[in-house]
């Protein structure tokens, strides 16, 4: 996405994600789903989210001068990273004066309606976007090579600390045109957006229509 200076909130539907890679991934996925009027902003992950999220709400265009919300739907997508990720996000949302949803992958009835989705979702094992991406291509011919690579490096003394990231990078490296992030992989259509592994996420994102 081109950088055209400081951004204001200009859409009624805002998706808050935890990095540039996620911005690229969701930009492609939302367009694939036929959702066109949205705005994606990077609010950081586990470490930065508590500080960045309240600042996002201060950005011009989020609230009107009479304090009413100009944003109708705010979807927050964050990696699991920890067991209590949903509670952690919900408590930061409440601390910022918004109504958090009562459970994962749903939206609250506040203004704005706030939804929280913790990656990779409740149906897929793992802790991050890369786990979900890999699940969408588990039948892909390149995955045989990826799994063999993973098996091989697992035996190393200094093996990769994050096997999902290592496997995702390997999958991307197995493509005709190599890109170095899952977001750019999404932009190149390397992940299978028709996979049932994405059903829960698609249903969640459908609220942004």
């Amino acid at each position: 996405m081109p950088n055209s200076g400081p951004s204001r909130i200009t859409s009624k539907r805002v998706l808050a994600v935890e990095g540039l890679d996620e911005k690229n991934f969701f930009d492609k996925l939302l367009k694939y789903l036929g959702i066109s009027e949205f705005q994606i902003e990077d609010v950081g992950g586990k470490e930065k989210f508590p500080k960045k999220f309240p600042v996002l709400l201060k950005t011009p265009g989020f609230f009107a001068p009479d304090e009413s919300s100009l944003v109708t739907h705010l979807a927050i997508v964050r990696d699991k990273d920890e067991d209590e990720a949903f509670q952690s996000v919900a408590s930061i949302v409440a601390g910022a004066g918004l109504v958090p949803p009562s459970k994962h992958s749903t939206f609250s009835k506040g203004s704005p309606k706030v939804g929280v989705f913790i990656m990779p979702g409740s149906k897929v094992k793992g802790t991050m976007l890369e786990d979900l991406c890999l699940k969408t291509v588990e039948g892909h011919p390149a995955m045989k090579c990826v799994n063999e690579f993973a098996s091989c490096v697992s035996a190393l003394e200094a093996k990769p600390k994050n096997m999902a990231k290592a496997k995702a990078q390997t999958f991307l490296a197995a493509q005709a045109e190599i890109v170095n992030s899952v977001g750019l992989g999404a932009q190149r259509d390397y992940w299978n957006f028709d996979s049932p592994a994405l059903d829960e996420l698609k249903q969640f994102l459908g609220n942004l229509r």
Binding site: P6, R8, K58, T59, A64, D66, E67
Partner: protein, 351 residues
Amino acid sequence: MFKSIKIKNLRAITELEIDDLGQVNLFVGQNNCGKTTMLEGVFFLIGATNPQLLVNANTFRGLPVMSKELWCTFFHNMDMEVPIEISGKIRESMEEQKLLLRPKKKKVPPTNFEVSDFVSLKVEPGDSKPPFIPDGLELEYTSSKNLTEKITSEIFVKGNDLLVERAKERDIRGIFINPLTIFDWKDRFGAVQRKKQVPEVITLLKEIDPHISYLGLNEIGLLEADIGLPRLLPANLVGGGIAKFLSVALAMLDCQDGIVLIDEFENGLHYSAQQKMWHGVLNWAQKLNVQVFATTHSIECIKAYNNSAASSLFASEAKMFRIERKDENFRAVEYTKEQLAESLESEWEVR
């Protein structure tokens, strides 16, 4: 030093409340959102017993005349029936100071009706209120420290003269700097000179012109600078940036324990000079206990403020507020130093 300010019915502002003020406060917002009016409101409250400030404020806006027709321009929607209220809470004591501004009503001489069998009356408007002609403005100042004492002063036009009655000096001092007052140096330089603070001013000026080695008033009260030429040069001619630096430096140094209001901080300054001036302002604010209210439209100025505050021990006292307006609704969105830094880093708009 104010903790909060509340302004009602002043010019474009219907109602605006700003709480948790820092010692140094930068105000941003779109054109016509009320930034300058907010500065004027604070200025009027500081000088709540000096009605002359009202006229000065219009002069700062390029309106150096006063007539009966202009009294209403201070009031929201030019409706003088609704008084202007400006109040502020003092940080340490939580004392509330309040200024009420309302029209000074002209005394209408009593009407004598001649009693006869028939009195012919013309048809008057169907309004129960007696007509009045605004003859000036009345300022009523009260403080929660002494609720029984009201200080009332007035300003009005009589013939060709503008008269002020019952003005009183207050302990608190405020200086308003805007593009039309930046050459207002003479008295302030004298005060700074007596306090032996001129070297501090020269040190700051050297940041934009290293040749400056001397500043002084000549025999006719003109401020002159030595910039290495064969003779001294009037400071006004050294350059717009120097003029702005001088103006801000002299105001800060001459306003210990007071309040300095700077409209359009960036005006006349190259972006590279803005951080140097912010550095000086933050240092003096801390050292001399000065509260600062400044406005800007410039993202360079905001970034310079953020950078200067980041390298200052005074960071927790540096705040930014965006004034937002939609029709009759106003609000001030507060950014702490950390939130401003986070927003700039995320490339989110803050203005």
